[in-house]
Amino acid sequence: MSNVLVVAEVFEGALKKATLTAVTFARDAAQRTGGQVHAVVIGQNVGAAAEELAGYVAAVHVADQAALAQPTAEAYAKVIAAAAKACSAAVVTAAATAQGKDVLPRTAALLGAGMASDVLGFAGPEGFQLRRPIQAGNVIATVEVTTAVKVVSTRPTEFEAAKATGSKGTVAPLAVDVGAVGTSYVKFAKVTSERPELTDARVVVSGGRGLKEAVNFGKLIEPLADKLKAAIGASRAVVDAGWVPNDMQVGQTGKVVAPDLYIAVGISGAIQHVAGMKGSKTIVAINKDAEAPIFQVADYGLVADLFKVVPELTEKL
């Protein structure tokens, strides 16, 4: 029992990039357990995603049936637990996306396994101690899962997407009877945007309270983001105020982002917000308060009136 099972995430038939970050962790884990990397692909008409993933792992187990068309934790956890048993997995892992966070703990209960959430990586070159953020990212805990089977969700921004192995793994159907489930799927209301997805974007421009009014998001932040082909984020304060939709919140309790360039406009830098963006490669802060905590994490700080300098920046880029 030494294999590592990656739970793939498929959206509208396509493999999500976050899954390949989980494969990167899984390869490292498999070196430590002395096993192979397997994957389970769940859904309906997911054959193409399974074939694609076979380029990255030794074996893909495919549970393709109408009852699995929608990712409900109740049904999916049963399939993942069955796949883990079928391939004698010592480690079950997935990216800590909304879906991963939803289904993995439930799977852990079915397997009687301990689980480490939102893992950043291994603590050392050997062994199986893991690092994970706690206390809104202010503390990094080193943790040990003491059960034989270990369940691990990994933070997608901490791992590079895996490269294809160059050979092709096996693809085989996994027969699972999910039985009666009490969860039924009603609908999904997709937030449509011309912009890149927040967690995938190379550049993120975020706005905060300093913008004073919702309308200034459109006047100042959007043109800057347009110029940089950036995704738009926001602090919790402005999300709570209803200026922008919920899914734009960057922070420990919102989205964790790590773009090449993060521009924080009128954001003070509450602990909770910083926890969601401090993995960014380059951080720019624009704020008129020179004492704002955001400047402690910014590579480049501009103490200025954002109403003056943001349009200027948009123009000069």
Binding site: A77, A108, A123, I134, T142, F188, G242, Q249, K281
Partner: protein, 262 residues
Amino acid sequence: MKILVTVKRVTDYERKVKISPDGLSLVTEGMNFVPNPFDEIAVEEALRLQKAHGGEVVVISIGHKDASKEIRQALAMGADRGIHVIAEELDPDAVARLLMKIVEEEKPELVIMGKQATDDDANQAGQLLAGYLGWPQATFASKVEGLDSEAEKAQTPGVVIAGGEATVIREIDGGLETLKLKLPAIVTTDLRLNHPRFASLPGIMKAKKKPIKEVPVASFGVDITPKVRNVKYAEPPARKAGVKVADVAELVNKLKTEAKVI
């Protein structure tokens, strides 16, 4: 309907917790403790559902003996009674298996929990409990209307109960998903489900007389040996100190020539 709600006592999430010099523990002495903010949202949702459908709201806390304060706070918001399992810090798995025992005894139709506690940020207990019980689950409950909407002002529940089912809107990557759960079920709350009410003075007075049953953890006969152990703690790597730029021109120049990100 009977609703169970969990409330965890956590260190104040607005303050930075210190790490002991040997890195083996967190220094909680002198820290301010508060109810986990996601749990306050859970209590609020339970109270709104109770208003709409009647029944009872039972608050459970598993933890330090001082957590009676957090239970009392939920009772002051309007919950009916409390159950306090007195224990040291446990891992989410032990918490879920203890909750399972309480659920088996109390037989609620709905359990509402915060999606995660802001101290260990595990985001597991609700899903684990649902897995152990074999109940349907809906994590990250949210709603379509904003927190400044008329529906929120009218304290309308986000979770809709009808015909033995709960309809829950979930905040997930890329949008909002709606699920229907056959009761009994587990719901975990996200930030935008509601604005929790403050306890009123009469509420606080009434809460003093509401019962809290204290139960020692040992009485459950549940093995609480952690499945996940925290071995040590460290500060996250600090970002190197940045520089202040004088104007937009300098900023653009640095981004182009130094950071090379544009």
